[in-house]
Amino acid sequence: MEKGTWTVKTGLAQMLKGGVIMDVVTAEHAKIAEDAGACAVMALERVPADIRAAGGVARMADPDVILAIKAVVSIPVMAKCRIGHFVEAQVLEALGVDFIDESEVLTPADESHHVWKHDFKVPFVCGCRDLGEALRRIAEGAAMIRTKGEAGTGNIVEAVRHMRAVMGEIHKLANMPEEELMAESKAIGAPLELVLDVRRTGKLPVVNFAAGGIATPADAALMMQLGSDGVFVGSGIFKSSDPSARAKAIVKATTHHRDARIIAEVSRGLRAAMPGLDIKAIPKEELLATRGW
């Protein structure tokens, strides 16, 4: 019997596909998310919109918050550690979380290096803006990838940009002559073996979700139609007027993402979405997606 293998790590991500992972800050939120059909929850002290508003240093959640959430749901519980903060990751593994998100939403602990994720039995998900960043994280041991988007904005534009970048680069690799792959590997800063793997299979070697800015059922379906395997919804649910109804609608739109009649139907009567932010109005140093190397 072997635990913590690459197959069981990437396998859990495969089980999450087609689903919605919701940010929750209390056990009560977690229950609402599970009842709405979330395939996992992300345990946090504050949703990204509040982290953005509060400023200061954002860290791993209080273990009591994580344990309280673990106690009330049967679906997988994820939690975030700061980029490069391998001791926060060790603590989260000891608490028995099912997945760690090494996340740019928290304040980075290391501005040069990410966690060496192969050292852990618990799987990691990491953010990316393009294929090179995705493959660097996978090489470090990430068993799942999510495009970053811009968390806490309710604005889908960055999520779309990052998903199109990843998919576009995969298509480009698939059509590239072999002799150009080494230069491409150097240009995007990704290990050659993974570049060869992506070229051969035409896809990332791990599951890829979309995150950062999903606020409506149509946003979720858009990311699915662009090629995402599932979606993370952060502030979009619990910063809206009717979280339970919106959560259920986003779950249905994710499953039936190619059925516009169903998306139309579930989008009715949801009351107000979270207020959105124009990305251009955010000072450059406050952008979260640029964190990570």
């Binding site: 197959t7 859990l12 999450l16 596909k17 997945f99 499953t255």
Partner: protein
């Protein structure tokens, strides 16, 4: 042979590739109308609570239960096994309730206790089957009408068959061993003798 794959959430695409390799015609099932004309159905791994909610919302649960009770062969993997069981220990979950057994969800704990292990499954031949267990359930109790097909070294049952229904706590779709899928297709075509 047209084999449906419940495609509400989870690892359904993995089964699609395997069924194609075995020469069956896979069909993704999300709405009741897609149950028409199937010779069998696979319920994949994923989150059972998510799948049950979506089955109820889109009125898939009762038609599927009716068809399975009539004669439709069904294979359930991990979450699919939970959906097939009549009883789920310490849980109010109610779903298809087709196989006369009690299963326990997340029987091994959280993800750090997920594992791989070789299994003796006599129904599939002498070569051990490599089982991938991810936050897996186990079969805690089963009526005598349920044939237990595989056990872990500690004796806990992890695969079972009852007539045209087949359940596994592990994930054959994550490996390259196609024997369990082939066994199911044989079952669906009336191949091996019914237990």
């Amino acid at each position: 042979m047209r084999i449906g794959i419940l495609a509400l959430q989870g690892a359904f695409v993995e089964h699609l590739g395997i069924l194609e390799r075995l020469g069956a015609e896979p069909v993704l099932v999300r709405l009741p109308v897609e149950l028409e004309g199937l010779d069998g159905l696979i319920i994949p791994g994923g989150e059972s609570t998510t799948m049950i909610r979506l089955m109820l919302e889109y009125e898939l649960l009762q038609p599927l239960k009716d068809r399975a009770e009539a004669s439709l062969p069904v294979m359930g993997v991990c979450a699919g096994m939970i959906l097939l069981a009549k009883r789920v220990a310490d849980s109010p979950l109610q779903s298809l309730g087709l196989m006369d057994m009690t299963v326990r969800r997340n029987a091994f704990g959280s993800q750090v206790d997920s594992f791989e292990a070789d299994l003796d499954i006599p129904a599939l031949g002498e070569t051990p089957f490599h089982g991938v267990f991810i936050r897996a359930p186990v079969i805690e109790a089963a009526n005598s009408t349920v044939e237990l097909l595989a056990r872990l070294d500690d004796g806990r049952a992890v695969a079972a068959r009852q007539g045209r229904l087949l359940a596994a706590a592990f994930h054959p779709e994550l490996g390259s061993d196609l024997r369990l899928h082939r066994y199911f297709l044989d079952m669906a075509s009336g191949g091996p003798p019914v237990a």
